[in-house]
Symmetry: C2
Subunit: 333 residues, 2 copies
């Protein structure tokens, strides 16, 4: 039913090999021959069968995005990230398939063993990530969005947490704040520990300020309750840096409810989030952006370099940038 290379070859009076050469531009073909073939293809509406091509060439041109569907709450900025990764793949002639895999990683091995994908992109990487150890010996190219403790030999793109955090702290200290709290998310499940972003932000925060860290479940309801905890556990703090989108909006709402004025009584800065998120709060939040769109594209590009055997690009770290809103102001006297 579908038009095959055989049909095109017959119509153009050539062999299917020659058709393949022009379709793939894989070998020079004489002008007149090429024109005949191209015309035949156009007339018949030929489209090459990707599955057959995949089998013969040992390349599916599909890459997988593995994300731990169950073990970690997906933030909203994930939308930008995934969209941009899918688009970057499409631009390079690849397809992106979504693999919701549990973090125990055996599932990942099975999936890879099916031979359906040319490479795997891992997101939500933990410091010691079982998935990396599974993939390493499997001779399938992979790249990380995020990074493990030991990144020797790995292809990855990640946020520059040190720089991002410094941007946030600098902004606040310039405003006169001396007692700053950092809020990160909790590790929620057995299979999910030592999430890179939290560990690295906390480490950077410890170095720069030595201030206290509060951990909070990653949902707006818990963020709301955090307003109370903050008053109890860090009564003298004048500013808070929140490292999770879901928490921050809830926190702002919770502070409101308690009658804490932002930024008069308390400055709030949300780190690694989006402009839209900022505008949703009242007052509009000061944020340090999450480079999600950029990381999606860079991650796919890094992976495709490996897939295509090109020299892998050096690992990339991207810092977020400060977008001043109205949720931060001078420290109270």
């Amino acid at each position: 039913m579908a038009v095959t290379m055989r049909d095109v070859a017959a119509r153009a009076g050539v062999s299917i090999a020659t058709v393949s050469f022009v379709v793939n531009e894989s070998k020079p073909v004489k002008e007149p021959t090429r024109l005949r073939i191209e015309q035949a293809m156009a007339e018949l509406g030929f489209q090459r069968n990707m599955v057959a091509r995949a089998l013969a060439s040992r390349q599916t041109r599909i890459i997988a995005l593995a994300y731990p569907a169950l073990d970690h709450r997906l933030g909203w900025s994930i939308v930008d990230f995934v969209t941009s990764a899918a688009q970057a793949a499409a631009d390079a002639g690849y397809h992106l398939v979504l693999w919701p895999v549990s973090n125990d990683a055996t599932e990942l091995a099975e999936l890879v063993g099916q031979g359906l994908v040319d490479g795997v992109l891992l997101m939500h990487v933990q410091l010691d990530d079982a998935r990396v150890e599974v993939l390493r010996p499997m001779d399938i190219p992979f790249a990380l969005i995020g990074r493990t403790r030991d990144v020797e030999g790995l292809a990855y793109v990640d946020i520059d947490f040190d720089a991002s955090l410094r941007v946030a702290v600098d902004h606040l200290t310039t405003l006169g704040h001396r007692e700053i709290v950092l809020v990160t998310g909790t590790q929620e499940t057995q299979n999910f520990r030592e999430y890179g972003p939290y560990v690295r932000l906390e480490a950077a925060f410890g170095q720069v300020t030595g201030g206290p860290v509060l951990r909070c479940r990653q949902d707006p309801g818990s963020g709301r309750e955090l307003a109370t905890r903050l008053a109890v556990e860090a009564p003298t703090a004048t500013a808070v840096i929140v490292a999770d989108e879901a928490i921050s909006a809830g926190l702002v709402a919770g502070l409101h409810t308690r009658g804490t004025r932002i930024p008069t009584d308390m400055s709030v800065l949300c780190i690694l989030t989006s402009r839209d998120m900022a505008a949703m709060c009242d007052p509009p939040l000061t944020i340090v952006t999450a480079p999600g769109v950029e990381l999606g594209r860079l991650g796919v590009e890094a992976l495709l370099c490996r897939v295509q055997g090109a020299t892998p690009p050096p690992p990339v770290l991207r810092a977020g940038e400060l977008l001043p809103g109205e949720s931060t102001g001078p420290a109270p006297a």
Copy 2:
């Protein structure tokens, strides 16, 4: 390098056909033979090559989720939806690939022509959707999340907008509100017109209340400005139903800034959004939920019925349910 059926067959002393029969359980195989084969598979760590299987069986077991990446802003509830669709596909032994396609639909025809997918799931359906017309004659199964004006012969799952809106309006009228405004999003691009959800909500709203409709760009910043428009264009309204997540949070923040008290001066209800979204606002919003998780699963199931040639399930409409928050209250006297 990889273990093939040929290897397994050799080791078990059978033909590859027989191996295939046990792998697929497609024909009865005598107990002892089956055991030998299963042992051989285990010893060799055999996994069948999905690409070869796809070529031979004419089924890739991949389904595509086509979403208009550029023409429409993705809401946050999309995360639940996509995750649930991917999971439902995985549960049924299928993979979900993301296709960011422009709305002009020729791209879609090309992608389908590649023979990579067994079926297509369309989201963000417009009343007259070019993609549906492209797909109809292409003898590839497809299903819609949402629905066109004419649904004759189509497989779809959608929100029950009439019922969902009625739930919202009932809640407000019970509280004594008589002047209610509906806020929907704008159609932003040439390629994107008459978005089903807005058209249907507006129609239902017209029938039930006859009240005014305001349209707003779908981002929190515009939602914020909407607070002012509301005062000008519907000065006597005491309640507003907002049909977009991005707008609603901005609106609440904007009302705050203007000094409008919620719900004392104005009740705000967000329709078709999530519990998390509700908790992010202050006060926590009263909402009618978006059945995103459920629709993701149902959409995949409807599509797979068609793919597998089963009798297609009857179209499903799901209403959201009311989750009372603190953003709605008695109408001011």
